[in-house]
């Protein structure tokens, strides 16, 4: 009966409580993004009355979301007091997991990275080991650097991430890492810290990171290409990250080069394999020496050899660059970016020969209008772009107007009723799973 009443009331005129949440959310986002910071500007931009604005601001100061800052520019009369967003009201935990390394950091609520740590890790050590390592370092970083309690986790994973069915719902199956399938990685991490978690593919967070703090700062159309063991691309078009229908946009490593996949001929492993062959048959004396000394070769050695002038390695990296460039050219014609950023271990070690190869192919195969002002550069952020991007994902999710309306009145997203329900559901589901007898039960 009670339920029926509520349903009826939400039809037609908004409830006053809904309206209040909406105005709180609107004002918070105006201040947070710097679009309006004085009371007068806020009244004008929000089209809310003076009394309402005053009341909402007072509420948010009390909740610890806003504070009064310095005096702004006077426009006749007294100088107005600026409102400031309390970006230290909470913190964001961010992590980027890759095939052979993990990165972790803490960001403030503006998505600004405050601390970061990178270390080698093997993905095939299994989800339990990685989960444990993440929790240990997050605990340590929070305690050691005395940052405020977390409001959310942003996670970058190697491979595409499906879109969840509803807000605060974690993705049930990680398609990305085969051996992780069925392991409740996101649920476990979310429960461990009691905060919502948002995941994206590594290449998508790196694209967002480059757009926020790297070469793409201030640009609205960029392509980021990650050249590692696998090859993939991320796209920001007109300021928005393009995720695709299944969240799997950008798998350019699967385009064909002859009979092979691009990543099978231009990925890190392919380059190392070619290098090894050249070391063995004498085409590269430098690599032969390195192989003898180390017993193995990686793309890093080939990049170093190219820098020292080893002709075979210069040509190999140039060729890989051209192959990647040929895959990028149609994409460039399609979206007309102002910048292409090349990252990943192959880009880091590949030096100028690789970049020259990419440029050659892209410029040759693009329409003159498209290539006229196009810049192609190597990433300067390295793996930090994944962390900055992961923080940006959480900021965008938590402060998305509809989500924000669900928690702004309580002062923290941790009190969002939908999040609390989903946390409860996940906890129950995990407990049920844990209670089941271990091992296979005969049918």
């Amino acid at each position: 009966m009670a339920e029926e009443k509520t349903t009826l009331r939400s039809v037609g005129r908004p409830r006053s409580v809904d309206a209040a949440q909406a105005s709180l959310a609107l004002l918070l986002n105006l201040v947070r993004t710097g679009a309006a910071t004085t009371r007068q500007e806020l009244e004008r931009r929000s089209e809310l009355g003076r009394a309402v604005v005053a009341d909402r601001l007072a509420t948010m100061i009390e909740l610890g979301l806003l504070k009064e800052g310095e005096l702004g520019q006077a426009t006749g009369g007294r100088a107005p007091r600026q409102m400031r967003f309390r970006h230290d009201a909470g913190s964001l935990l961010v992590s980027a997991i890759d095939q052979s390394s993990i990165a972790l950091g803490i960001a403030d609520l503006n998505g600004q990275l405050l601390v970061e740590h990178h270390e080698a890790a093997q993905l095939d050590a299994g989800p339990e080991a990685i989960l444990d390592r993440l929790a240990t370092i997050f605990d340590w970083q929070l305690r050691e650097t005395e940052k405020p309690a977390p409001w959310g986790i942003g996670l970058a994973l190697p491979g595409p991430i499906e879109k969840p069915a509803a807000d605060f719902e974690t993705v049930p199956v990680l398609q990305t890492v085969q051996s992780w399938q069925g392991f409740p990685f996101l649920d476990r991490l979310s429960i461990r810290f009691g905060v919502p978690i948002f995941a994206r593919s590594g290449v998508q967070t790196m694209t967002m990171g480059e757009a926020k703090a790297g070469g793409g700062r201030g640009l609205s159309d960029i392509i980021y290409v990650k050249l590692g063991r696998s090859i993939s691309a991320g796209l920001i078009s007109e300021g928005q990250l393009h995720r695709g229908a299944q969240g799997a946009a950008g798998m350019i490593g699967h385009s064909r080069v002859g009979d092979e996949l691009l990543e099978a001929v231009a990925g890190a492993e392919a380059i190392a394999r070619e290098g090894k062959a050249a070391a063995e048959d004498g085409r590269s004396p430098y690599l032969a020496q390195t192989l003898e000394r180390q017993g193995e070769l990686s793309v890093v050695d080939i990049g170093h050899a190219a820098q020292l002038g080893d002709l075979f390695c210069v040509e190999l990296l140039g060729k890989c660059g051209r192959l990647v460039g040929e895959a990028l050219a149609p994409l460039t014609n399609l979206v007309n970016p102002s910048l292409i950023v090349i990252g990943g271990v192959v880009a880091e070690s590949g030096g100028d020969s690789l970049l020259a190869g990419i440029r050659e192919a892209v410029y040759r195969q693009s329409h003159p209008m498209v290539s006229r002002d196009l810049q192609i550069m190597r990433s300067q952020m390295g793996a930090s772009s994944g962390l900055v991007g992961a923080a940006q994902v959480v900021v965008e999710e938590l402060f998305a107007p509809t989500t924000l309306q669900g928690w702004v009145g309580q002062g923290s997203p941790l009190h969002h009723p939908e999040f609390q329900k989903s946390l409860e559901r996940a906890t129950v589901a995990l407990a049920t799973k844990a209670a089941q007898p271990a091992g296979r039960v005969a049918p």
């Binding site: 990178h118 270390e119 240990t136 050691e144 300067q380 952020m381 390295g382 793996a383």
Partner: protein, 353 residues
Amino acid sequence: MNSKTPGDTAMSIAGLGPHGERAVPAAQIQLTQADAAQARARRFSIAVVLHTTTSDWSKQELAGIAATLGLYSAALVEVVDCNFDFELQVAALARLAREKVDAVISIPIGNARVAEAHRALTQSGRRLVLLDNAPTGMLPGTDYASVVSTDNFGLGQSCAAMLSAHIPQGGAAGILGYGIDFFATHEREIAFRKWMGSHRPDVTLVRERFADLDGAGPAAVAMVDKTPGLSGIFAVWDVPAMKAVQALAQKNIDIPITTVDLGNEVALDMARHGMIKGVGAQLPYDQGSAAARVTLAALLGLPVPPWVALAGREVTPSDVIEAYQVIWHLPAPKAIVDSVRAATAAQNPVGRH
């Protein structure tokens, strides 16, 4: 029998750079004859900004920088001692951005507080090479040329492995950590914990922090008092380690300690078979020399890797004299040599001839 040679004791590089970069070993940064000739012809001027110039580490770092720059006719025109004060560093960088120097080698004091001043120096057209760390948010290429550092992660792992031998099954080990947001000491502590977690999960870890050096002794004593059965301590560098040794000795406590850097006092304590059982040492002279080469390469417009690292060197009481020579490029002081001889004689009273 100690079969280790200096070659064996050089560790491989375990840590990743400030942006997750894979390290380029310092030995790979070399100038060709043509580069060297060009550098000599251009007579570069370079300034160095350090947190302090009084420590053993700083003196050796400077010696490495000065000697290597000299080889390429580059003048070291100023050395700034910031006395651990970030405001002094900010002021010094602002001044250098207006002076006639081509490049600056600097060790950032703290994290975010000095980032802007370093950035401004690069924007003034001078080349910037950082030692040990890049403040969070600064980017190679745009904000600085390169970071040259010892593999602090590897040093932490090494100290854990050396301490582990002194911790009984199910025992406890303590970490004497630095209470300031500082990348190098953070990396050492994270690595120490990681090594213990994966190799010695039976060991309970406890931790005390000190914010200034005078707090290190009391913190070590407090840790021992609070943790019955504490069997060893890892101190994040040598100066607090020796503060701990002194404070503990006053209370008649004898406990194995491992630490980072072979300062004179630590070397003497090891030679006397005191509490210090092992050291993961940086090679500051070599680091300084590498930083100088990277700076010259950057000034010549050559591509420089964003993260250049040097492996540390493990030192145990049995090879403290030889390690001293490798690390400090000097003969070990007489007190250390005499102590090692006395300790060896005590162990082998008959003697072998």
